[in-house]
Amino acid sequence: MSGFWRRLRAATWARSLEFIRDKSAVGWNVIFPVLLVVGLAYVFSGPGQPMFKVAVVAPEGAALDASLHPFLATPQVQFYREARAADAVHKVQLQRIDMLLDFTATPARYWVNEQSPKGKLLEQLLRGAGGAALQRQATQGAEVRYVDWVTPGVLGMNMMFGCLFGIGYVIVRYRKNGYLKRLNATPLRAFEFLLAQLLSRLVLIVLVNVAVFGACRALLHLRMEGSYWNLLLLTVAANFCMIAMGLVVSARLSSEELAGGILNVISTPMMVMCGVFFSIDGAPHALQIAAQLLPLTHLINGARAVMLDGAGFTQILPNLAALAAMSVVYLTLGAALFKWRQS
């Protein structure tokens, strides 16, 4: 075995043993995702949340049912009352609701967001309410529940925290307590050390999340249209990239407090910008472009495409390519900036 592989294997093995034997860390890394799954299962148990949300401005005293308009009898759509159309239009713009109906105007009007696929689908339903052909579309649309949509986001977010904090804190701690200085006195190269940390973390995170995904799928009956292998490939690529991102942050720091602060500054916007809980389709264009520069966006979008739309390898190839390119940049930067000792 060449020196490179021997050293890489030894460093990966040592780090993995350290992690596996750290009961509190393992506990947290397993328990947190399980809590997430249980939480999701609880929130989305029962008959299921409606997929669509429609605001209705109706004359006083009128019930929100088919007597007002046949469309209001559509199943899997939550109709709720708004007092004034002007207040609700903004919610349509932000895609917080899928459609707004106003029966107080003459003629009755509706608002839909041109950029929202759900809004467009609803529009079709509205136009064809009562028609046999369009009823079929309504059934198809109702199968995509919010839980199917949000689970890739929640698991992606969990992996992001595991990658960034898991690698960042460990390396900063090693630097602070002098362990890195000791390793620097051996033939182990910076790149080999970093790659070992990355591989060890990658294997552990992917294994834990495969188990969590399995549990989610079983408990929540998640929709899975595409290939598991594509999903796994995407997960490995995204985790590799996010761990490499953590390596950049930890390249020089020797204060855990500062590292924690910086990691929070990175992870919090990622959580918001990458569409974990809400679609960013309606967000400003600049924000959407910025989101394309974040690995979590490509993981979540790719995973949703595979799971919900049955996207194949070629369809997620742009996500994989972006993740690979970002990985190269982060890994190169991390190795170039890396310092063995405190300055």
Binding site: G3, R6, R7, R9, A10, A11, W13, A14, R15, L17, E18, R21, D22, Y174, N177, G178, Y179, K181, R182, N184, A185, T186, P187, L188
Partner: protein, 292 residues
Amino acid sequence: MPPVLQAIELVKQYPKVRAVDGVSFEVREGTCFGLLGPNGAGKSTTIEMLEGLLKPSSGQVLFRGAPLGGHYRERVGIQFQNTALQEHLTTRENLRFFSALYPKRRTLDELVRLCRLEEFLDRDTSKLSGGQRQRLLLAIALVNEPEVLFLDEPTTGLDPQARRNFWDLVQGVKAQGKTIVLTTHYMEEAYLLCDEIVIVDHGRIIAGGSPASLLAQHFDDSVLELPTAEVRKLGAGVEFKEKGELAEIHTADLNGVIARLLGAGASLAQLRIRPRTLEDLFLELTGRELRA
């Protein structure tokens, strides 16, 4: 044959302090070379330049007559003053890990025997005592059968018993013909282990040679220690230094001084006579205590 290591006019300048200021010396094959000095004297900075971990601001380190090359780290072993190890790994696992980083390796059995690791070989390293930990760190420094072993303040913080046990181990390593470079602020450690020393203060070498020759060169007397009250009975004419309740008389004429003390009616019940030490030498050269 060139010396194993040569330090030539080494300087390490930090923004606000010159930690090492033009240090030169040679380390011969198979000897134990000591850098002796108080905390902050520049010993650790000097040894880190010799280890190849710190780049000198100017000057050069030569290994067997040539600048330190890419494979230098495979040929030396280092024990730092403060080193953490990976948590949750046993002594055996740590040794295996560090062994795997080197192309040339000692067997685990040899290391265990040499550094007396048998009793805690399968113990988590976080549960080792200070002395056991230093023995493991010494074993790690020896995993690659190094040509030069660097020990940076290896016994700082150990209790006297653990320190003596560690000295035994180092003497065992020395007996195998290894070249050792040691930093310490314990003069007893330097005197016992080192064939040659340099005394460092404020980043400069203030004296160098074998411990015995240095002492012979600077002193021809011995030290008598007595309670100050007894020494005062001699009256004027005898110089002494007060150290708390004890007084020290430095003299080359032991018999004469003892006769005068008896003549003056002083009690010799608490008399101690000791030879000059490196600590005395440091005080003589700098006017300060070594461990002040």
